[in-house]
Subunit: 495 residues, 4 copies
């Protein structure tokens, strides 16, 4: 049986049609999406006749050499992918885009997110004699397309998109067209941009369009797919059974601060959550506000501004450390934490500090940071989390998916406060989060997917359902019972 953790992937997609520097621009686009995945990267390029690809492990600069990139120079269309480092499935054969050569056509495909019915679809296909070559969900859609009896590739793609469930975006390339698709809840983002010279691009985040000096055209909405070919760009729906539920985690943690999702700039959203958090849980007597670098800095400045407290660089992140050795002794491991993040003694010594972080998952990192500050002489440390309690696993493409590892599934804020050694601990409320982002008032949760905070899964659970129910903690069960209002709020809760 598959462990459910290994299946989850947060990744970045990019695609471009008809540019004489297609592979180079894809490389640049992927560089700006590198924060979405550092395990490996790949590019497949096409020239209306054949598709060829390059891929490798590690950061983009390690995965694709200058020479590899040069070899794709004469190809006018391309898609690319950066892959997140999950614990298992690390081989080169899992690095996307996957490139398939059939007797009648070639197709490249890459994927962001997680299919929640992949396991059952896979078994069904294997029972019919299909052979899978990777442990990736991405292969499933290719098998569905090839098994389809639909008349055209586009029809087969639509049929297949209706079969799969979960939070996902896809980019596909054939010699005739570039395709993009978004799940029926738009949980994971995909946008269309246009370069100054007119060509269209697809990207997981708008920052990849900005990097190329292009203009944002539109988000691909829930249940939509796009076809970009020599005739231009065409967006259609493969299903109308949609509910917009954009992953709140994109705003809180994943996306780059300069990206804009569904019209909301990520940095601005974070700053607002920081302000709202300050209103909800002020620590006005503190001497300064410190953010955990890098994703919590925006929220920290918001918190500081709201309470008119000084915002200080009390924690310094070592910007050169991508990975570090496993240290041989406990003493060295303790010091290993300090190598990545240091507290600035001269700033924090004797001070009462508000520490703003974006989330608490296992609690171990937060505990270490509080200790770092205390070791550096901080007097009080008041932890403020710019998102609600992370109580439920995500199955839509975030690498946190077991109840066991979520501290909030088992402990109250007060217990966690004690565990991490802080003077106080407060979270942003679910309403605070939703109102800070606020995408679409007509949809549940204003168009957000907040499953990790509420246990309300917009795309359902499918293969994960039995396991989810069997593993519910007491605290999770109590929450689900007592917080019925979340599901009932607008009379159209997901489940």
């Amino acid at each position: 049986m598959y462990d459910y953790k290994g299946l989850n992937e947060e990744c970045g997609l990019f695609g471009i049609w008809n540019h004489n520097e297609a592979a180079h621009l894809t490389y640049m686009g992927l560089q700006s999406l590198q924060h979405r995945g550092q395990e490996g990267a790949g590019i497949v390029a096409s020239n209306n006749e054949e598709l060829v690809g390059e891929r490798g492990l590690g950061l983009l600069t390690e995965a694709i050499s200058e020479q590899s990139l040069e070899s794709l120079k004469s190809f006018g269309h391309a898609i690319g992918h950066v892959r997140y480092a999950t614990s298992g499935n690390k081989g080169i054969e899992n690095i996307q885009p996957f490139l398939y050569h059939f007797y009648d056509m070639s197709v490249a495909v890459c994927h962001n997110g997680n299919l929640i019915n992949a396991q059952s679809l896979r078994q069904e296909l294997e029972e019919q004699g299909s052979i899978f070559h990777s442990s990736s969900d991405t292969e499933v859609i290719m098998h569905l397309i090839r098994k389809s009896r639909a008349a055209t590739f586009e029809e087969a793609l639509k049929e297949s998109l209706r079969t799969i469930k979960g939070g996902f975006t896809f980019a596909l390339l054939t010699k005739d067209a570039l395709y993009g698709a978004v799940d029926p809840n738009a949980i994971r983002p995909l946008v269309i941009g246009q370069l100054q010279t007119g060509e269209y691009v697809l990207a997981s985040e708008t920052c990849a369009i900005d990097v190329l000096g292009g203009e944002f055209v539109r988000d691909i909405h829930a249940g939509e797919y796009v076809v970009i070919n020599d005739e231009g760009v065409r967006v259609e729906s493969y299903t109308h059974e949609t509910t917009t539920a954009i992953s709140a985690m994109e705003y809180i943690y994943f996306a780059r601060p300069d990206s804009t999702i569904a019209g909301k700039n990520v940095h601005a959203v974070r700053k607002i959550t920081g302000k709202r958090l300050a209103q909800e849980s002020p620590a006005a007597h503190a001497d300064m506000v410190i953010g955990v670098p890098n994703s919590s800095l925006s929220a920290a400045t918001g918190y500081a501004e709201e309470l008119n407290l000084p915002y200080e660089m009390g924690l310094v992140k070592n910007q050169y450390i991508a990975r570090t050795f496993i240290q041989p002794t406990q003493a060295l491991r303790e010091q290993g934490v300090r190598v990545k993040l240091s507290a600035v003694k001269d700033i924090v010594h004797g001070k009462n500090i508000v520490l703003v972080d974006d989330s608490i998952v296992r609690g171990t990192t937060c505990k270490r940071i509080v200790r770092l500050l205390k070791d550096a002489g901080a007097n009080e440390v008041h932890v403020r989390i710019a998102s609600p309690e992370f109580m439920f696993p995500s199955f839509y493409g975030i690498d946190v998916s077991t109840t066991a590892e979520l501290i909030s599934a088992h402990k109250s804020p007060d217990e966690i406060k004690t565990y991490i050694g802080a003077e106080s601990l407060a979270y942003l409320s679910v309403d605070g989060l939703i109102e800070s982002i606020g995408i679409d008032e007509e949809e549940p949760y204003s168009g957000l997917c907040v499953e990790s905070f509420t246990g309300d899964y917009p795309a359902g659970l499918y293969d994960y359902e039995a396991r989810f129910n069997a593993n519910l903690s007491e605290r999770q069960q109590a929450f689900l019972t007592s917080n019925k209002q979340y599901f009932d709020r607008k009379g159209n809760q997901y489940v």
Copy 2:
């Protein structure tokens, strides 16, 4: 003839005596000093009998594998080095520490800074039949020591330190002791720390002590050297002809914000320069303050706080890009800038912005950043530089050493404002800088080396003198003539 650029090096040193994890701790110490050099790294370890070393090109994690580090495990003493990527001299043979095996002893040596009489010493030594194996200044001191007729290694070292000129620190390791030394002006920093378990360490910056959970003991002052051996730590002077002149550039640009040099925390100093800059050149009508990541963020928050302006993350630095390919076309090169740094459209659009940067050297980077902001829709961009005009080359270990490339050697602030396309441009005054840092009121410039802003070189020019004088621009000459007050201020100007 040597180009003078290639000689300059900013580097990081670390040393430890008598710890059963000496090499591992050196590795961690070097990781925290990685910002001082990314070209290569090395560690030499000793066990009272032999010295062995490991070194390599690239970041520490590339240069020294886990296996290499393991091979040094049983050695109780170590020194290490990270090296800055200068344009020339890139081979592995230039990576330090240099390890010498003589018939009578072995010595490892590494170095930070630049010797300004290295070229003449080298020629003198070669004329006597000495053979140099690298293009590094560091070899010079080893030759001097070996040529010395002094009775002991320590005496030979002292004699050699008196012979060399410039801004430098050294760490040396023999089987008997660990040595550190600082130039007669203390231009480059070196500090002593002590671990909780009692062992002594040497490091270029205090952040390397903090990383190990150690305590700062003292700075090594101008003209001092330190001997650490089984008997403890002993600091002595090799010369009493000293004038403290700590490089202001360490505060402005090089050092990590969590380091403390001569009692002044770097982040705190930067924030104060930002406040002082706001007092000297306010842009109070602006909508927000943006700092250029990462070194200008502290100054930017200081500027913002002083004027009570919002501090925003209007520029996002791609944290995964250590290096990027040379792009084949001009269009791609332009976009290459955006890959490293992006402006956040939703934040800057339509806004009047104060852009705080730490320095302007050639002006090209600043010009690109202003354009990035304008392209993203910024209305006005007011550039504020948290240091004075960079008018004169440095010869004491900074990789900026030709007059030709310094825009302020040729253009006035007003001309530069036009060149970079900003609405206004202002620099911190020299007095502002000195008063913001303020180390020692008894010394010229309060104990700072501000040669790049005043043309007043505390350690003299030696091999560079003829070339310096021959290449003075009109603007430099005018400055030197009209600003005699800098040299005369305390009646004891350097030259």
Copy 3:
């Protein structure tokens, strides 16, 4: 459309069941089979629960590191593969064994030879929605097995073996058993051996058994397969429609001289062909006999002994050159030949030489060697080829498969003699070859596959038939017409 050349592969297989050093022994076995393939290598090991694999490009020592091999240490069963460098299909994804993880079982498979109906089977399978991930024939059998409705894996394997055509051997590993199989003509070899400690091994050649100090048990005959599991070894037939036709090329060129195929030692066979060649085409007035290193040395000593001529080392092969750069100029390319092979001036100068080679394919290599000898001062060069004229392409796993490139398909021996610049040229007769090897008098051609010399294909042509017939040269057509006796000799010609 697939070019037919790219499909052909000569490779080496090895398998072992239930030994506590299974992967290490597989590694050693593959080292002794390295002559059968240098493009890449892989090992899959199993421990009754899971299958894991390591593979890579290049020679075995490059493909599988000591660390990789160590990671397989605790697994008691293994199969391994070395792959021949064909012009296309060079990626890591083509390196075998292929390892498949299905919902119900895992299987590893590797293959030597060529399937001649792979292309039509592949298209048929793709039309049913199957997806292939490599360009290798090997995948076809896995798809056939998985598509099979047979009740057991063994039945599905038998059914699939009956479906595929060509010259092939397979090794397969599941958690329950090790399987080996040989084509219905035994064109490609596979043998069973037993170690001194009792464990069974499979190998393409007996040299791999000898290397491990084991004993040869038996050849796997035409149409047989073997199952090795905890119950022992069991050989069965999947078909009884068999005709033994062992590739004569294994004796002439491929196999190692210390291997024994169908009871005939390869070195001994080669020496006999040399003697027979001397009888058929003596050059008794010559001064010496020289063999082309390494595969023709045995035949050359046979030729020399038969005529009582001195056997000399007149050509020296550079044993360190696996591959060389493509030289930038024609002059350098000419010299490049000499880097690989040199004539010994002091031996050949002024001498009349018999040059024994194993075969002439394109004629270019032979021409260069004759010129090397002449340039070194040889007087006369009499070329003797220890096999018949290579007139027809092979489709059973040899990398020579187009009529266009076979010089004997177009030119007579006399024309070729002129082309290569020799004083005389003679080939071993087809009868001479058959009588020198002589495996089984009951079968056509005494149990040999001599298709390249006669155009008589024991396993038929299938996907290649149309192309073969369309491309017949005049000389080939004339041969097929006038040499009907080959097909009729024993009244049971193949086609």
Copy 4:
């Protein structure tokens, strides 16, 4: 103290002046000299203005990439080096040519052989303050040249060559000329060749000239050096105190069979030693003669021809194994031998065999080969060694230099016969060796250096003398006492 083993090096040199493909031809020349060293390789090229170099570890193809070679393309002069894998001193910093940049000139130098007074010269130089950067002898000559007060580089070179002792050849490159030099006994070889286009080359063996299609011009004799520059080639003597004593080991073991040293082709010499050995120690009743591949094959064919016995390929060497892993268990190690060398069962089974090998050093290899043959069923194995008993260490550049490891220093042939498990054992006599090669009847030992067989060292012992005398075994002492005739034969013994 230096272990004396580590100092010894057998290497290959190449040089070329004024050819527009200088680096490419050097690469080809080094490929043909690869048998002289596989640890590393380097090339330094010059264009009359600057010298630049490329070097690396491993075989030439690993050490110097196509890209590295391309970078040297525009340089018209070059020298190159391949280095033998000795046990110590393995770093890249020991790979030659060494390239030195002085204030007044640049020089590259590389070296074959061993200096026997290097250690004392080194200490002397260090006492004067000189610094050595490698453990290689090669540096010594550079220091001597630079310390010299001679007026010209050529004079300084001559002076330095007179100071060093041992068996050596050097190649040096400056922007003005290419230099070669040979020790005063011509122990190690160096030859001059000329390409068809007129350019001159230097090489350790003639095979490197043949590879380029060039003509042999002359050997560089004892005490000579050569200068090749734009004016042509000029050979001179730096000393007239010379005695020709060419290393017999070059003929017996090191050199390639197609090379010619002092007018004697290596293969031909080996064949003659085989014939002489057959005359001295016939094994006429044997069934066949087998040579140990590759260096003993020539001698084996000579032995077989002399006695009219069949020469068989009874041992097969795996031509793909450059190195193999250290096997974890004794059983695997035993099998590891078979991976490199296999006995051909079908040939040797039940037979009486003459096994011809070139030498016995430690005896372990010979013992293993005898066992291989016996395990494969050989009846009797009669070992014949085509050189005399290897009784004394060599100090002139062969990697066998301690008495302890030489089995013949301690055991008689009869004892060794028992140790290796052979039915009989015989060596070529010293006279037999000398008469088989026979270079110059006027010199002792007919112009050969046979120190390993006689203990008579033509260049003396210097730094090794005390240790040599202190470690003499009883058998060595007895030999030296009773074989005075070797030293007295011509009245002009070396010592």
